[in-house]
Amino acid sequence: MIEVSDLYKSFDQNHVLKGVNLKVHDGKSMVIIGASGQGKSVILKCLLGLSKPNSGKILLNGIDPNGAQKSIIRSKVGMLFQGGALFDSLPIWQNVAFRYLHGKQKINADEAKKIAIEKLERVGLKKSFADNFPSELSGGMQKRVALARAIATQPEIIFFDEPTTGLDPIMAQVINDLIRELVVELGVTAVTITHDIQSVRSIADEVSLLHNGIIQWSGILDQLDKSNNEYLKQFIAGSTFGPIETLR
């Protein structure tokens, strides 16, 4: 379970998060939506322990990701970065099997490669790509490799940062479907941040809208189109008129 309570985060005078509260139950997929620059990525960085909040509490399966036990929780977390964040200097299979090649989960390189190939095939990539470098793949393929890396060590929690950014609508839907399949198949708790409504409809069990540093609306996917929340209605409609200010 993921629990976030009263989360505050500022950068100098810029108060980005002003008391965020979230709860994601085990095996559920939460999608956080919101306009650009509202702090969605900052929440994710705090959840991953990459950025320390000013105040508030975060617990991932009962462990504080910024606390002394952060290495324990990191070994149970998978992450898909917006741009993939694949290591340019390593071949694809070493990117996928990175955890199996270094650190506490280290195993024999041949076995690691075998697991990497299995994961690549699971996300729809052929074995022949294993020895290529990330720069030799298209954007969609890189996203699949990043997805394979995120699921490589059977994580309990997975975070997805804008999984469909930069992809054409068809490839975006392929990635959305793949994410949904993996979340159900692995039974993981997932948090996705996006501003793509199509992704929300494909991936989410629950949805939260972040605006102005707080969660303005939260509910299950079925309530998304029925809600009278003005922020949510404007966001879904993509309207320039409403409580979410726009620059024109």
Binding site: R74, G78, M79, Q82, D88, G103
Partner: protein, 258 residues
């Protein structure tokens, strides 16, 4: 007037914060050198990048420096009939001063820039965050192998550069200045002491640490975008070069002031 004082104060605070950040960074790096895991593949790759691939630039620079030094000393020595000191001054000058300093500056230009650009690009493309989420300390994976490799390879480069510089002086001495070749070699060797060579190699090791630390430090604090990477690269080269020259003075003071 108040504006000027406020501006100066802000600059001073920024400088203190920068120095503090650098000290904390160095402390974290040195604390991680002796504790596992050790990333041997990254270490050997750094040995190749920093040592082997820097050899041509260090060799060529040293050769021409030794050759020019021989001409200068010959011309200067001729004013008081001391042309015969050319071999010994070239040898001492190269191993004590010019070999380490020029070698260090050339490696700084080649290596500090490449380390800062590589790590900076990794920072802006979230690869460093990815390392952390994969339970790998970026300091251990990216910085320690480069630091150890630079610490070990720059003295070797300096040693090779010294020899090539002396060879440059020899070639000019024998072909242009009409020195007898065996007398040139004997004079080069006879006046050279072991400490002259060792002090140059110690300087090389210190310069190696400076180069790797500056490259990694500015790469790790790189800001977003192409401009951020460019800025990190420039800062790494400039600070490594300035620190090499400053460290050279202090080391010379320590080694030879008595």
């Amino acid at each position: 007037m108040i504006g000027f004082i406020a501006q100066t104060g802000r600059l001073f605070i920024r400088l203190c914060s920068f120095i503090g950040e650098l000290i904390v960074f160095c402390f974290r790096v040195f604390a991680n050198i002796l504790t596992p895991p050790f990333f041997m593949r990254a270490f050997f790759s750094s040995l190749l990048q920093i040592g082997w691939l820097s050899l041509p630039v260090v060799g060529i620079t040293s050769f021409f420096t030794g050759a020019a030094l021989a001409l200068q000393i010959y011309a200067g020595g001729a004013r008081f009939n001391a042309e015969e000191v050319v071999p010994s001054i070239v040898a001492i000058g190269m191993v004590r001063e010019l070999g380490p300093v020029l070698g260090g500056l050339m490696v700084a230009a080649r290596v500090a820039s490449s380390i800062a650009a590589e790590i900076g690009t990794m920072k802006v493309t979230e690869q460093i965050d990815a390392l952390s989420t994969l339970s790998t300390d970026p300091i251990k994976y990216l910085v320690v192998p480069r630091l150890v490799a630079a610490f070990l390879t720059v003295p070797v480069l300096v040693g090779i550069g010294d020899s090539i510089g002396i060879l440059g002086g020899y070639v000019v001495g024998v072909t242009r200045l009409e020195f007898n070749n065996s007398i040139y070699i004997i004079n080069s060797v006879n006046y050279l002491e072991f400490w002259d060579i060792l002090s140059g190699l110690i300087k090389g090791a210190v310069f190696g640490c400076i180069i790797a630390l500056m490259g990694c430090f500015f790469g790790m604090r790189c800001e977003k975008g192409a401009r951020g990477v460019g800025q990190a690269t420039k800062s790494a080269v400039v600070s490594a070069s300035v620190l090499i020259l400053a460290a050279n003075y202090f080391l010379t003071e320590i080694f030879f002031s008595s």
